[in-house]
């Protein structure tokens, strides 16, 4: 509704400072309004005044310029969590599952060793395995098979020291092992003669084979030649089945013997996939400091913390209604303002309070109140004159004898631009030691109201609404708009 907006502007401006306007609230009342600490009645009175007083609206907005950053700070505090929810946290669940898997893995790897000395229970196990697994039945000795009904199947299991869970796991493991052993036997080409011999007494088993099941294939040559500590008590090499010979598969040496190790003994299911997951080590944990750094970084983003970056120059901090309206501000303030304007050069000369005699010695010795020795050159325009101060305390005219009145100065390091009436501009590249006069163009009129200078690009606005720009640090200028 642009048409209504234009009308609104017109009529609203017409009623500004009208009969509804009251006396300006003082700074205390405005502060209390901004801080929301006024009683409701006074707050309504302030709102009524603000609705018809542009300058006071400006003051309220400006005095709030940095409040929101403080007000919107978010404190990241953990929400209260019930003990049950704490137990069900994903991290704890993951840790519990990892621990369970570790226990299972330990049981799986430990059980074959434990089952070896339990010679009495082996026939039963094998019988059960044979019943459950017809494939493995081919490799099981007939006498073992026939011995199965002779003993109650549950007796060895119940008498075993392992828990029921461990026993069940062992049974399942044995079942899984059967097909694998049959395959290995078939691969070795010794299926008919592969029936394992009757199990020798457990006490007479060689030390190296103590951890292996009796039906495992044992490379006796290895024990005979490579392990002098192995003593085959009362048995010759002939009592053991001959070990499968190495076979070459696809040019790679592959032995069934190499399968009879703790990890290569992993059985496979019908799909050829392993039923046992190999636990790889967890990825290296990030150091604690790194995590703290990440947390701090995210917290900074969450908290919208202020940085030390200076605010950029934004012309027009004031609202438009303040710009052109005739003065109707507080008479007291205006009176003070006049006095201050008279004293302004003195204050400027005084510079910062650090170098001023206005404060007592006690005040100057306050902590954090130190002199700044190396201050950058400050520039400003006072009374149409361009003045500068290198050390905060002494202001001096930087360009005496100018034929025009300065209105604005912009400094960027040692690069200083100053402009004034008659569209006059001067430029210094050495912090004001030497100056050069800049000619905008014949068409340039008005007073310079804005200079935005970069390294090469410079834009200048005049009070006649002319926008001059240069892309070569002020050597040539072009008029952009009028």
């Amino acid at each position: 509704m642009p048409e209504l907006s234009n009308l609104l502007r017109q009529r609203l401006a017409g009623t500004e400072n009208g009969p509804k306007a009251t006396a300006h609230p003082d700074a205390d009342t405005l502060t209390a309004y901004v801080e929301k600490s006024l009683p409701a009645t006074e707050q309504q009175a302030v709102i009524a005044h603000l609705s018809v007083c542009g300058p006071c609206r400006e003051v309220v907005v400006l005095s709030q310029s940095e409040l929101p950053e403080l007000a919107t700070q978010t404190v990241l505090a953990p929400a209260p969590v019930s003990p049950w929810r704490r137990l069900l946290r994903p991290a704890l669940g993951l840790a519990a599952s990892v621990a369970a898997m570790a226990v299972i893995a330990v049981l799986v790897l430990r059980l074959p060793q434990k089952s070896t000395p339990q010679s009495a229970s082996l026939p039963d196990k094998q019988t059960q395995q044979a019943k459950a697994n017809p494939v493995g039945e081919q490799a099981v000795a007939p006498e073992t098979k026939s011995a199965a009904p002779a003993q109650p199947s549950s007796a060895p299991l119940t008498s075993a020291p392992a828990s029921t869970l461990a026993a069940n796991e062992a049974r399942a493991q044995a079942k899984r092992e059967e097909p694998a052993r049959a395959k290995i036997a078939a691969a070795a080409g010794a299926a008919p003669s592969m029936a394992p011999p009757p199990p020798p007494p457990a006490a007479k088993l060689p030390a190296l084979t103590a951890g292996l099941q009796r039906k495992d294939f044992v490379n006796t040559d290895f024990f005979a030649t490579n392990n002098a500590d192995v003593v085959l008590d009362g048995q010759s090499k002939k009592d053991f089945p001959s070990a499968p010979q190495p076979q070459t598969v696809g040019g790679t040496l592959f032995t069934a013997d190499s399968k009879i190790t703790r990890f290569s003994d992993i059985p496979t299911n019908a799909a050829g996939n392993s039923n046992v997951r190999i636990l790889t080590p967890a990825p290296p944990k990030q150091p604690l400091t790194y995590k703290i750094g990440q947390l701090a970084s995210s917290a900074v983003h969450s908290l919208h913390l202020r940085t030390n970056v200076s605010p950029t120059l934004r012309p027009g901090a004031l609202g438009s209604s303040t710009m052109g309206e005739p003065g109707s501000f507080s008479a007291t303030l205006l009176k003070n303002q006049t006095a201050e304007a008279k004293a302004a050069p003195e204050k400027a000369d005084a510079g910062s309070l650090a170098a001023s005699d206005a404060l007592s010695a006690g005040a100057l010795s306050a902590p954090g109140f130190t002199r700044r020795e190396s201050m950058p050159t400050s520039w400003k325009v006072v009374g149409g004159k361009l003045i500068k101060s290198a050390g905060q305390s002494q202001w001096e005219e930087a360009y005496p004898g100018a034929g025009f009145e300065f209105s604005i100065v912009t400094a960027r390091g040692s690069d200083v631009w100053a402009g004034g009436s008659h569209a006059s501009i001067i430029h210094s590249r050495d912090g004001g030691l030497t100056w050069e006069t800049v000619r905008l163009g014949e068409a340039a009129t008005g007073t310079i109201v804005s200079i935005m200078a970069g390294a090469l690009n410079v834009q200048v606005k005049t009070s006649d609404n002319q926008l001059w720009s240069s892309t070569d640090a002020g050597k040539t200028w072009s008029l952009k708009g009028e």
Binding site: M1, E3, L4, N6, L7, L8, R9, Q10, R11, L12, G14, E16, A27, D28, T31, V34, E35, S37, L50, S51, G54, R57, V59, V61, L62, S63, Q64, S65, E66, T312, P315, L318, S320, M323, G324, E325, G327, F329, S330, L334, Q337, A339, E340, A344, K347, L353, L359, A363, S365, A366, P367, G368, S378, K380, H422, T447, V449, S450, S463, N465
Partner: protein, 296 residues
């Protein structure tokens, strides 16, 4: 029957309790001087209040900062040390936030420091601006508001100090006022209808409209002033415009127009409407500022 447990003793609200709460003793402020300060505040804001009402009013003041400010105004060294430690850098930061420019921010803050210390004398006594702090809001907020007032005053004063010679050089010449054209009946009816609709608005709605249409404030800034979220301001503005349009149309109809004429009158170019002095002043804003505000 034994008496029940006695309620916890609430310290009786008195001047000495408030004095103790303010910590004025640290800065050499006596109880008597503090009482005078509080009485001064009460006379200004609650002149008709009873003693009890005054005590309750004083209790809600920022007593510690009030004591600090008044001790500084009295020239107490310890108070000045505390003040500078707490507010010196903060004041420069606030000034920088207001002016958005470093050198003018320093200039503004330094001039306020001089006023706070009291460079002028009245009846042989140094007059510090801190004497005007009444403790209704925080001292930092008060400094912020005073800086903002200074900034606005300076700006407005600068705008009024443009010399006549300069205006003549810029081509601004005195011209006789154009003879006022007779106000068309359309203008008068439309203006009256809109004034009537605006008159029915609440103060807060009018504040929202003025901030948005006259000051070109953003929704966020308006939301901060009014104390609501910017999305609420957006919805309120939309609703206000619809209501105003409806009321203006109704007002035009009641002034003898039919619906079509009223719609046509609303769409009339604003240039054909009556121009008053205030609007003319509004249009005389510096061109650079208009462009900057437009690009925001």
């Amino acid at each position: 029957m034994s008496p029940g447990p006695r309620p916890a003793e609430v310290p009786v609200l008195s001047l000495s309790v408030l004095y103790e709460k303010s910590g004025g003793e640290r800065y050499g402020l006596t109880l008597q001087a503090f009482g005078v300060v509080l009485e001064q505040v009460a006379v200004k804001y609650v002149p008709q209040a009873t003693q009890q009402q005054k005590l309750e009013f004083w209790r809600d003041l920022k007593l510690e900062e009030l004591a600090l400010a008044r001790a500084c105004a009295a020239g107490h060294d310890a108070a000045w040390q505390a003040f500078l430690t707490r507010f010196r850098e903060k004041l420069y930061d606030i000034a920088r936030g207001i002016t958005k420019e470093d050198s003018s921010a320093r200039d503004l803050a330094d001039s306020l420091y001089a006023d706070l210390y009291g460079t002028s004398e009245r009846d042989g006594c140094r007059v510090s601006r801190l004497n005007f702090y009444m403790g209704r809001g925080s001292l930092e907020g008060w400094l912020r508001t005073v800086l903002a007032q200074e900034f606005v005053n300076r700006y407005r004063k600068t705008k009024r100090l443009v010399s006549l010679e300069e205006q003549a050089e810029d081509g601004v010449q005195f011209s006789a006022a154009a003879p006022s054209s007779p106000t068309s009946p359309l203008d008068s009816r439309l203006g009256a209808a809109l004034d009537e609709a605006l008159g029915q608005l609440s103060d807060e709605d009018r504040l929202v409209l003025a901030s948005y249409y006259l000051d070109d404030r953003t929704l966020t800034e308006i939301g901060r002033v009014v104390g609501v979220h910017e999305s609420t301001i957006s919805r309120r503005l939309e609703k206000l415009l619809k209501t105003l349009r409806k009321q203006v149309l109704a007002g035009l109809v009641s002034r003898g127009m039919n619906r079509g004429q009223a719609e046509e009158a609303l769409e009339a170019d604003v240039r054909y409407l009556q121009v008053d002095v205030t609007r003319k002043l509004q249009e005389n804003r510096p061109a650079a500022f208009q462009q900057d505000k437009g690009s925001d």
